[in-house]
Point group: C2
Chain length 367, copies 2
């Protein structure tokens, strides 16, 4: 956790005191930084000031300006801030970067002081009132300098990020947009398209859904308005990834249709997609970014009562074993659940033994 | 948990002592049933007998025959068993039902004694050695009688299922195949097709992957050979669902391509898919099959050390709050993780308060 120690960061002006802007302000105040606030909505601004997220900006000169306004106005606000504060580093928080930075420069922002920013801080409520000083702790925060950005300004943006408790990763704006299209935006569309198939389905059919479908459709319940904006802004890279997905699905679909019609010569296309998927999945880094640490899973059946999970984790803790992940699989109509505990490979057998000795209903060790 | 009490189930012959067959046998033995075993592979049979899963079948007359052979031979084995034991209920365990039952009847099985079965017991290793008596405890086990199946034989199959500790759900074979195409088979293909996009991707791009992509691609690492068989066998229903997914994706893809080319008139198609997905997702029943119990989530940041999760769950247990679900979100490069605890709506605030009072780093209450 970041402590409230003095910081080398100069005055920071946060323009836009919604959830993200106010959270950044609170994180900076927590770290002892001087924070100035501006918002065209006096109520949002008053809320942020009332939360001690900083003081209303008057005539102070900021070292860095964080533009945390909605995507539609971000580039314009970056450009005007760049002119108003000719020495300040200018950064933003929008989740798609190329278009906004290009537009900001086009509108007159000084590209040598421009550093795009994307704090990856998960979904939350909106508005200053929902802001939290620790929203960015241990989160990735991607920085996208332009080709002309001076090192000094990149370093200042990095200091901003670390002061907020986050971890900065630097890449070009276009790289960023391709990366998030791949790992976040296209998966969102795929999840929605799959979940949309449930809308006309019979209740009986949906009733046998297991964990697989739940996992595949979880993000389909995200805020549609927000996602419409994000997808529209990153249309090019997202459509590239989706084209690939549609191509794979059409190959499989064609093969399945031929199979359904009695022609068994088409299994190869299905096999190819299944194998490519298994290999692709292996490329996702494990916990803490380490691709070389696959875990093993110990399955345990626990009763659905207060304290049961606690008892399980106490037992694991007593055995000195660190749990890397926990998955609870729900079971229809029964007062119990299957819990899978992921641990480092050499901890799996000791964990299973320790839990068994303590009377737990251990169901096996996988992987 | 099913106890080892006497059962009204008569002698059961399990043909095929692989993982599923032997697990069924072990579950039946646990419940006090008489179990007969047969396998054309003497080694598998010896392993199962050695595990006390039953005795080698000689000339005993079974009341029920469970055909647990690979899908390719299931219908033939069901037909021959039907002829060999003219009074026995005949059931199987294959994960696609229409084709196999039709083929079994075509091969001479008596449809009045045929009850298709599909124990939904999750992935495991294969072979008798990996069998477990409790593999089916608290699991769904779908039964698909034919139109001609006598009630007596359906009831016997239901008794088999409950004796194994599972929960039986009855539907027509064609319903079953459409249901599993929707909730399991099509999602598998979609997951694979999405994960396949990671194969040629840059490591830098994959490195920013979050929980969304992980959830969406988890099942892509399933056994490709097994899935090729399942998909091929259920080609018709799966291609129906996939057609719907491809249609949705193409609508979005087309809209995104128009947007990327500068035409903003196309947001409606994207919006429609996002909204349909959010509504579709809502139709998945909650824990224990109750669609009316959405949960709220309490987010907590915990250190990555043995015992930390235990401390958290002890605190929840002490507050008398039952955790419905747990999600651990991993954070790149930091020795901590964000844990989301799902609880009943009215337990969310008390849990947040209780955890906060015990010094936990509570990050908010969602939902």
């Amino acid at each position: 956790m970041t402590q409230a120690t003095p910081t080398a960061l100069g005055p920071v002006l946060v323009i836009g005191t919604g959830l993200i802007g106010t959270s950044i302000a609170l994180a900076l105040v927590r770290a002892g930084a001087e924070v100035l606030l501006r918002d065209e909505d006096p109520a949002q601004l008053a809320t942020a000031v009332g939360m001690s997220a900083g003081v209303q900006h008057a005539s102070q000169k900021p070292d860095i300006v964080v533009v945390a306004v909605p995507p539609r106005s971000a580039s314009y606000v970056m450009a005007t801030a760049s002119k108003e504060f000719p020495d300040a580093t200018i950064t933003d928080v929008t989740s798609v970067k190329s278009g906004i930075l290009r537009q900001a420069v086009f509108s007159g922002a000084d590209s040598s002081r421009l550093v795009g920013g994307h704090p990856m801080a998960g979904r939350e409520v909106s508005g200053a009132a929902g802001a939290r000083a620790d929203l960015f702790d241990d989160r990735l925060w991607i920085l996208t300098p332009t080709l002309e950005t001076d090192t000094e300004h990149v370093q200042r943006a990095q200091l901003l990020v670390s002061t907020c408790g986050a971890l900065s990763v630097e890449m070009a704006a276009s790289e960023h947009d391709v990366a998030v299209a791949l790992v976040s935006h296209a998966p969102q569309v795929v999840s929605s398209a799959l979940a949309a198939q449930l809308l006309p389905a019979k209740e009986l059919h949906i009733s046998v859904a297991g964990q697989g479908l739940r996992d595949m459709t979880r993000i389909a319940s995200s805020d549609s308005d927000l996602w419409l904006d994000i997808l529209s802004e990153n249309a090019g890279p997202v459509s590239e990834v989706l084209s690939g997905v549609v191509f794979e699905l059409q190959e499989v679909l064609h093969a399945l249709q031929e199979l359904a019609a009695g022609d068994r010569d088409h299994q190869e296309a299905i096999d190819a997609t299944l194998r490519a998927g298994a290999l692709g999945r292996q490329r996702i880094p494990g916990k803490h970014g380490n691709p070389d640490s696959p875990f093993r899973e110990v399955a345990v059946m626990v009763a659905d009562q207060p304290g049961e999970l606690a008892r399980l984790f106490i037992a694991a803790g007593e055995a000195g074993i660190n749990l890397e992940d926990v998955r609870i699989e729900h079971v229809l109509g029964r007062p119990s659940g299957r819990v899978e505990l992921a641990v480092k490979p050499d901890a799996a057998e000791p964990l299973a033994t320790a839990l068994h000795e303590r009377g737990f209903d251990v169901r096996g060790v996988d992987g």
